[in-house]
């Protein structure tokens, strides 16, 4: 009798455990697909968070029309303020509070690098919009960026300077991961090409006044000025350069910026001071190729303004994640990562994307020139 009861109990335990096992998996494959979005929604960089939100909400609306694997996608916003500490806290909070299927991070490489180890540990497919060389060199196989690396963008800047036949270059860059890494790539590339770097300055994050930096650029006798900064500073640099007659007027020289310089938020603030600047960028709101042009129109119709690079990158991030989940037929992180690694040619609004062995998925970027406060695409640079 005891033996029979024991067998029955063991059977109950086995079935019970099996049921628990199913119960543990099934809810994860039911209900909404939860994706955390961490960006600067408050603080000094909140303008980027606003553009990000607009872009990703546009993608969300399109995705939820049909759903992904028959389920709706739910975005969970968390504010990282565009700062490393706050982004880390936001990441830890959102990971512990929700059963997430994926994460999308902001465009600040420093923030992405701050949470990289946690991204690696939890294995969730994680998109970011950072472009640091350190992100490119990362061995975190579940981390993806919608951008080319600063090495690529820096290389494009060097190639453009060579093409223009410029001889003396002055550089001003930000102190963050973007400025440090891209600045170094430009300096190394120019030195290698035999072009003299007559001034290499780094400004501080808190700087508001660029007059003296530009005065030093002017005094250096350069024929080309390269500025690398985030959108928070790019307009101020363009205004200071215009006042000095560096970018416009009789003695104007070639002024080149990174992607921040052709973004809507920068042009809106710099106004006519933005004219005559060149920039290497992942995205320009004047791209006339499809499907980008239609998307820009849709964005403009929806929000009444042109998109920023971050809007387009965020849009592509969510669309790629949804596509990978459909391809994998599941939201299981490992399978979604496999699908993303197998992706060779996904056409987004920013560029064509494909996994090339590093987190950087974008295959192209643009060289633009600002005319009448509009960035005009001059050429497309494809990843080698």
């Amino acid at each position: 009798m005891k033996k029979a009861i024991s067998i029955i109990l063991v059977c109950f335990m086995i079935f019970g455990l099996a049921a628990c096992g199913n119960g543990g998996n099934e809810p994860a494959e039911q209900g909404t697909i939860k994706i955390a979005v961490i960006d600067a929604f408050t603080g000094d960089k909140a303008v980027n968070g606003q553009y990000s939100k607009e872009g990703i909400e546009l993608a969300l609306a399109e995705i939820n029309e049909k759903g992904v694997l028959g389920r709706q996608v739910e975005l969970i916003y968390e504010d990282g303020q565009g700062k490393e500490t706050e982004t880390t806290n936001a990441y830890q909070k959102v990971i512990s509070e929700h059963e997430l299927d994926a994460v999308i991070l902001d465009k600040y490489s420093s923030d992405v690098l701050a949470v990289e180890q946690f991204v690696k540990e939890n294995g969730l497919p994680t998109f970011c919009q950072g472009s640091s060389i350190k992100i490119e060199a990362s061995d975190t196989s579940n981390l993806y960026s919608t951008r080319r690396s600063d090495a690529g963008a820096g290389g494009s800047v060097v190639a453009f300077i060579k093409e223009q036949g410029l001889k003396k270059v002055a550089i001003l860059h930000s102190p963050d991961a973007l400025g440090q890494s891209m600045g170094q790539v430009v300096v190394d590339g120019l030195t290698k090409a035999g072009i003299e770097v007559v001034s290499d300055q780094q400004f501080a994050n808190e700087d508001q006044n660029f007059t003296n930096y530009i005065a030093k650029v002017l005094a250096s006798g350069c024929d080309c000025f390269v500025a690398i900064a985030q959108t928070t500073h790019s307009a101020q640099i363009m205004i200071a350069a215009q006042e000095a007659g560096l970018s416009q007027g009789e003695n104007a020289i070639t002024c080149i910026g990174n992607s921040a310089f052709v973004q809507q938020s920068s042009i809106q603030n710099a106004l006519e001071a933005s004219n005559n600047w060149y920039a290497c960028t992942a995205f320009s709101p004047t791209i006339s190729m499809e499907p980008t042009a239609s998307w820009i129109k849709k964005y403009n119709d929806t929000y009444g303004r042109l998109p920023d690079m971050t809007s387009a990158c965020m849009y592509d991030s969510l669309k790629m994640l949804a596509n990978a989940m459909e391809t994998a037929g599941t939201t299981d992180p490992a399978k979604v990562n496999e699908a993303l690694h197998a992706m060779t040619d996904y056409r987004g609004v920013v560029a064509s994307y494909g996994y090339q062995g590093t987190p950087m998925l974008s295959k192209a970027e643009y060289v633009c020139h600002i005319e009448d406060q509009k960035s005009i695409v001059l050429q497309i640079v494809y990843a080698e």
């Binding site: 408050t42 303008v47 102190p175 508001q208 006044n209 603030n269």
Partner: protein
């Protein structure tokens, strides 16, 4: 010539810091509280003048008159919301913490009201002065003139007028001031109002140069440094300290770009090691 440009921008930046530091010092003297939201009051000044100029389309004189009135009202409102309810708290740091909270609240408030995109403001005096490789926005010279004028007005107010003497009396000993019939609440409120007018004007002057954004408040770091360098609690010291900070910051760029702020704070530390009470420290102790 580069040095001339650096000197003028240095003095100009020093003036902006000084406008903030003067307000800070007046509050410290009046109620003994270090106002950590002072940078945000400066920022608020820039947003309010932007609103008066571009939303209400007021002419320059209208912006100046209405600006002063609005700043004064904001100063009083700030005092009654951040300082007054907590003034008798048993833990003296409470009001200081309250100002920290106010700094965050003000930063978020302007983003809710005016959005996250920085706002563009035309210079009050348009144009750029070019001489050889030297170039200077006229706004920098305007800042020096207005800043200097405001400093003179504050001096006259405190040294030559009855209201100034009443405010000084309240600052020196509030209990005695009350005993001789001075309405200290009015006196403290006037201090906050003047402090906000000074900072708000600074914001108005800085907005066209650096864009009107929530990051304008970060300039307060240098104002704090200038105030400590000049001698904590001394208006004259705050002005001299801030002008020095502006010049060091400007000329520090000749030595290093990446660490120019480090030079500013290294000088501050050295001065404090040599003279712990700041440049005008002796005068403060004499007064005490």
């Amino acid at each position: 010539m580069l040095y001339l440009q650096m000197a003028i921008t240095g003095i100009s930046m020093g003036m902006l810091y000084a406008l903030m530091a003067m307000g800070l010092t007046l509050i410290v003297k009046a109620v003994g509280v270090l106002n950590f939201a002072h940078g945000q009051l400066f920022m608020l000044g820039a947003y309010l003048t932007w609103m008066l100029t571009y939303s209400l389309n007021l002419p320059l004189w209208g912006v100046i008159v209405c600006g002063i009135i609005v700043f004064a009202i904001c100063g009083a409102a700030y005092m009654f919301s951040v300082y007054w309810p907590l003034r008798n708290s048993s833990w003296k740091v409470t009001v200081t913490i309250s100002t920290l909270g106010a700094s965050i609240a003000l930063k978020e408030f302007v983003q809710i009201v005016w959005g996250t995109i920085p706002l563009t403001m035309k210079p009050i005096v348009n144009g750029v002065f070019h001489f050889g490789t030297v170039y200077l926005n006229y706004q920098y010279i305007f800042i020096i003139l207005i800043g200097g004028g405001l400093m003179a007005l504050v001096y006259i107010l405190f040294e030559k007028t009855f209201l100034g003497k009443v405010m000084q009396a309240t600052a020196q000993d509030r209990y005695c001031a009350e005993l001789i019939g001075i309405p200290t609440i009015v006196s403290i409120m006037a201090t906050y109002m003047i402090s906000m007018v000074l900072s708000g004007t600074g914001g108005w002057l800085a907005g066209p140069l650096f864009l009107v954004s929530s990051s304008l408040g970060s300039l307060a770091q240098k104002a704090f440094a200038g105030m400590v360098l000049g001698g904590f609690g001394d208006v004259k010291g705050a002005i001299v300290g801030c002008l020095l900070i502006g010049m060091i910051e400007s000329f520090g760029l000749i030595i290093t770009d990446a660490y120019k702020d480090a030079i500013v704070f290294a000088v501050l530390i050295i001065v404090l090691v040599v003279r712990p009470t700041g440049i005008f420290g002796e005068k403060i102790s004499e007064k005490a």
